[in-house]
């Protein structure tokens, strides 16, 4: 027992020392940066070429059907999260979406619900934990999966099982094929765009981290925070100008 406690204390001390220069939201920055660059290399070597080949052999409507199909399977889990976050009306609308698209939308291939003004929501279990008051914790770059936080990583197994409900399919070949199809279809939509992030930033890692963290914060709050913009031309440094919008 004592030994364990000592080891833990040593580990904490080492981590603390390693993190001395890192910003508070990203104590594992040096690990994260390495993983970020590994992910980029894997993408360039494998995912991106596969996605390109996929686009070459499938017509665009098929890719839309595939996107709709997986999107439809996610709606019940989005609804459950809305319920867990105390938003029963949104939850009901998510269930309506699932019913409408699964039937009239031919098993989810068509997104009839959006046409019928039943909007798609964006919820997941990480956001639910956030609404419940769980802090996001440090930024974490996951292998293959990309940016996350400690909280969102812990929510990941729950999301992976329930958000992607085909994971419950028992036939491993079918299950893995579906997972691969979803990943490739998702990646295909972004072909040609990765360049923008490369070009627009001086430090791609830093820009994506700040973006991810702010975006998660915004989503947890289903947000419409009041906007405030400083004017550094004015003498009083802290003067802000509220926008005309009411929060």
């Amino acid at each position: 027992m004592k030994h364990l406690a000592l080891t833990a204390a040593a580990a904490v001390a080492m981590l603390t020392a390693a993190c001395a220069n890192a910003p508070p939201e990203d104590p594992f920055e040096s690990y994260n940066r390495s993983m970020f660059s590994i992910n980029e290399k894997l993408d360039a070597a494998i995912t991106k070429p596969v996605a390109k080949a996929y686009v070459a052999v499938t017509p665009e409507p098929v890719r839309t059907w595939v996107g709709n199909f997986f999107g439809n399977l996610n709606d019940p889990w989005i609804g459950v999260n809305n319920l867990l976050q105390g938003k029963p009306a949104d939850a009901l609308s998510d269930m309506m979406r699932f019913l409408v698209n699964s039937t009239m939308g031919i098993g989810g291939l068509l997104d009839i619900a959006t046409e019928a003004q039943i909007p798609k929501h964006d919820e997941d279990f990480g956001q639910t934990l956030g609404v419940w008051g769980v802090r996001s914790g440090p930024y974490v770059m996951l292998p293959l999966l990309g940016p996350s936080t400690l909280r969102d990583s812990l929510a990941l197994p729950v999301n992976a099982t329930l958000n992607n409900s085909w994971h419950l399919v028992s036939d491993p070949v079918l299950r893995n094929s579906l997972t691969a199809l979803q990943a490739i279809n998702g990646r295909a939509r972004l072909l040609g765009l990765e360049r923008t992030l490369d070009e627009a930033t001086l430090d791609k890692y830093r820009y994506s981290r700040d973006f991810y963290l702010q975006q998660r914060q915004f989503k947890v709050h289903d947000g419409n925070p009041p906007l405030e913009y400083e004017n550094f031309d004015l003498d009083d440094g802290n003067q802000t100008e509220p926008t005309g919008e009411s929060p």
Partner: protein, 210 residues
């Protein structure tokens, strides 16, 4: 998750390309955003050269239709943060020019990726006397989560000017602040200017042939 970020970059295709249009036509900020977005996306949708990435053609389009409606000085100030105040007027001008070049070049490229996304305009929530307003839009793409893109405009003597764009709730302008702050801490304001100018040079060299 990276997907989200990239998807947002896609939406930038339509982002920088909005703003107040012809003054006597449209004077309300939301009408202006809609007018310019519709005009520019219509051009891109029908122009094969732009869709295949013709850099000079898309830059010309952006230059003519979009840039007049942006306040790049204000954007740069917000991206730099409080260090802006310690910059000399000359440094401020160079920062603005370099940042403007970077944004215009990269987002012109993003515009070439625009295809068939549908842009919904949300009702404007503002009072008549407001000097700053946010125009909210939602970009829908078949088979994907819709993405909110908001434009923040400020009244200026020659019409409304866009000075910030929010993608999925995140300000693309102030999101540069951490990155720029790092540069300034290590290399000073001149160091940041040099980094931006170098970046622009290397991008220009890459695209030079197009």
């Amino acid at each position: 998750m990276t997907k989200n970020l990239f998807a947002c970059c896609l939406m930038l295709a339509s982002v920088l390309f909005t703003g107040p249009a012809i003054a006597e036509d449209v004077t309300a900020p939301d009408a202006l955003v809609r007018h310019v977005t519709d005009e520019v996306t219509a051009i891109v949708r029908n122009d094969k050269a732009i869709q295949s990435g013709d850099a000079s053609k898309v830059l010309a389009l952006v230059d003519e239709k979009v840039l007049p409606h942006f306040d790049f000085r204000r954007m740069t100030m917000l991206a730099v943060g409080k260090d802006w105040r310690s910059a000399t007027p000359e440094q401020q001008t160079r920062l603005t020019t370099a940042f403007r070049t970077l944004l215009v070049r990269t987002y012109s490229n993003a515009l070439t990726q625009y295809r068939d996304q549908i842009i919904d305009y949300k009702p404007l929530r503002a009072s008549p006397g407001d000097q700053q307003v946010k125009v909210s839009t939602e970009v829908r793409q078949a088979g994907a989560q819709p993405i909110n893109i908001d434009y923040v405009l400020e009244q200026s003597p020659d019409g409304w000017k866009v000075f910030d764009v929010l993608v999925a709730g995140v300000s693309l302008v102030t999101n540069y602040r951490g990155n720029f702050g790092d540069q300034i801490r290590v290399k000073g304001i001149d160091g940041l200017i040099a980094s931006l100018e170098d970046k622009n040079k290397s991008l220009e060299a890459e695209q030079g042939g197009k």
